[in-house]
């Protein structure tokens, strides 16, 4: 059976991944839009910066975040002044770390979808009287819906699997920064292989179920019906004015 501390680690992990995903969707969408529509050469630089967490070893990112979050340095100090709490080794710290770490996994799918959409259909919306916000919510969003689901599930899954950064900046505090991946590592280090297996298998099953649900949502029954209608229509003669 799963012991209590592992359950706590599970809830902490889910909490961290959910909050991180929400934050990323909120800041990632305008960023993806900006990158998709931008035409200057700075675009390449910003894209490279966004993609950095993919190639950067998590320990490098974690190392610099550890330094930045300590109350001696500006970000950590600012946080302490504003909130009265220390940033290093807090739940907020691992959320911020996860936001950096999973950023490209959320931004890139959305950016690709926005790019694929192009400008043509938005111009059509504009000449019909829709302003920028209107066009985004009534044209862009409904058409690129699938990419948002992909981005959210990728961001969530990636954050759940995070280890290196949480290890560096987490401090392993139960209920706050001890996440499943750390708990698993601890069991292995302490030779508790049975517990480690238990945890690993539950993680696997859980991830699988979530991903399956997400993809099920993405391919709604209407879409499946449409796809089969389309292929039967190909044979029909529809050449009438």
């Amino acid at each position: 059976m799963i012991e209590n501390s592992d359950l706590i680690a599970l809830f902490t992990t889910l909490k961290m991944a959910s909050i991180t995903t929400i934050i990323l969707m909120i800041i990632g969408t305008p960023l993806a839009w900006y990158l998709a529509k931008m035409k200057s050469r700075f675009k390449i630089i910003i894209e490279a910066v966004v993609a950095l967490p993919i190639v950067l070893p998590p320990t490098v990112l974690g190392f610099y975040l550890l330094i930045a979050f300590s109350p001696e340095h500006l970000p950590g100090k600012l946080w302490q002044d504003i909130t009265g709490q220390q940033l290093a080794f807090s739940f907020s710290a691992i959320v911020i770390g996860s936001v950096f770490y999973s950023l490209p996994f959320v931004v890139q799918p959305i950016q690709k979808a926005f790019e694929q959409l192009g400008d043509d259909i938005l111009e059509a919306g504009a000449v019909l009287g829709a302003n920028a916000f209107d066009r985004f919510f009534t044209i862009v969003l409904p058409i690129t819906k699938a990419s948002f689901i992909t981005a959210a599930s990728l961001g969530f899954a990636h954050t759940v699997g995070e280890f290196g950064i949480v290890l560096m900046i987490g401090g392993n505090i139960s209920g706050e920064t001890k996440v499943l991946s750390i708990a698993l590592f601890e069991h292995v280090e302490a030779f508790n292989y049975a517990k480690a297996h238990m945890l690993a298998i539950s993680l696997l099953i859980g991830s699988f179920i979530i991903l399956a649900l997400v993809y099920l949502l993405n391919y709604s029954p209407q879409k499946i019906a449409k796809m089969s209608v389309k292929s039967s229509n190909k044979n029909r003669d529809i050449n009438k004015a």
Partner: protein, 366 residues
């Protein structure tokens, strides 16, 4: 003040748009030009889709854009509709949702959805997914959508170029109907003179980013005849006289007791608008000249005319004639012109077959 005035001076990739024009916003103004002449760009600038232009646009007294004072009204606020060449329907909405998109965002809603659907004959397709429509159906939806937004001016950018012949005929008739019923001013861009001849009241001609001609459509076509930039033709708007179904012919009144015969009009090709007047054109190369009247010829159309102008062009000669107060153009070989030793003020006879008289009926075939 019902007019649209615009000035643009901008460099785009490949060409420079340099125009300064005022056109009345009544009826349909055609815009003719070959590809690369800047006509689509002009429409986009008027609609507000090109931000980096230098110039200004004023519609019916309201200033929409002035680059000097950095005054720019966004396209969504200009109440100018634009029907694109590629329809650009919203794939996630069905037909009726697409059509009502503009209406939901317009200030006044005097037009009813059902009326527009009837005008564009889309009743049967109301709830269909737009991705399953044919090219012609898509354009109809695009036009219906643009109409329902009740713009003050409707721009159409080569709306029929992607369609097949039967669709073109149908759509032109429909557009003429719409214009008559809704009194909506339109700016219609095309590279097909045949389409423009049928639909425009005034014609704007563009070449290499500049306006070269503007005026009444028949006059401009005749002016262009002399420049050889289009198929030389005689462009006429004449009242219908009678229909002769037995012979597959209809006739138009050229002058009292003088009629031009041409292929029979069917109800689908006769627009309900121009009840009495039909527009037609005859290619200059289809009109031949004779010193004598051919009374016993199979060619049904022969009339006396006076030569007003002779213009040699390479190995042909363009002859401008006055026939019952209408201007006709005939293009004959240099050799024939010399043989007949034609001079200005000569009275001769012109002849052309009924099938040489083109109207909306055979617009698709051209």
């Amino acid at each position: 003040m019902n007019e649209l005035s615009f000035t643009f001076n901008t460099l785009f990739d490949g060409f420079e748009l340099s125009v300064n024009q005022t056109i009345p916003t009544q009826g349909i103004t055609g815009v003719f030009g070959h590809s690369g002449s800047g006509k689509s760009t002009l429409l986009r600038c008027i609609a507000g889709l090109e931000k980096r232009t230098l110039g200004e646009v004023t519609l019916n007294g309201t200033n929409l854009y002035n680059s000097r004072s950095r005054y720019f009204i966004k396209p969504e606020k200009r109440q100018i509709g634009l029907v694109f060449q590629d329809a650009r329907l919203f794939p996630h909405l069905n037909v009726i949702e697409n059509i009502e998109y503009g209406r939901n965002r317009s200030k006044h809603k005097t037009l009813f959805t059902d009326d527009v659907i009837k005008l564009t004959q889309l009743e049967a397709l109301k709830y269909k997914s737009v991705t399953l429509l044919s090219g012609g159906e898509k354009q109809r939806v695009a036009i219906a959508r643009a109409l329902l937004a009740e713009p003050k001016l409707l721009l159409l950018d080569e709306p029929l170029s992607a369609l097949d012949n039967t669709s073109k005929q149908f759509m032109l008739t429909m557009l003429l109907n719409i214009q008559q019923q809704l009194k909506l001013p339109m700016l219609y861009v095309s590279h097909s003179m045949a389409e423009l001849q049928q639909i425009s009241d005034n014609l704007l001609v563009m070449n290499k980013g500049q306006v070269t001609h503007f005026g009444n459509v028949h006059n401009i076509i005749h002016t262009l005849n002399n420049c050889q930039s289009i198929t030389q033709q005689t462009s006429l708007s004449l009242p219908i006289h009678e229909n002769l179904p037995k012979y597959g012919l209809s006739s138009l009144t050229l002058a009292p007791n003088t009629y031009i015969y041409f292929p029979l009009l069917t109800s689908s090709t006769k627009s309900e608008t121009a009840y009495n007047n039909i527009r037609c054109f005859i290619a200059a190369s289809d009109i031949s000249i004779s010193r004598h009247e051919a009374l016993e010829s199979s060619i049904v159309n022969h009339f006396q005319a006076e030569i007003t102008h002779i213009q040699p062009q390479d190995n042909t000669v363009l002859i401008t004639l006055n026939c019952h107060e209408h201007t006709f153009y005939s293009s004959i070989s240099l050799w024939s012109a010399e043989r007949l030793s034609l001079h200005v003020n000569d009275l001769i006879y012109i002849q052309f077959k009924a099938s040489a008289v083109h109207s909306l009926a055979d617009i698709g075939m051209l």
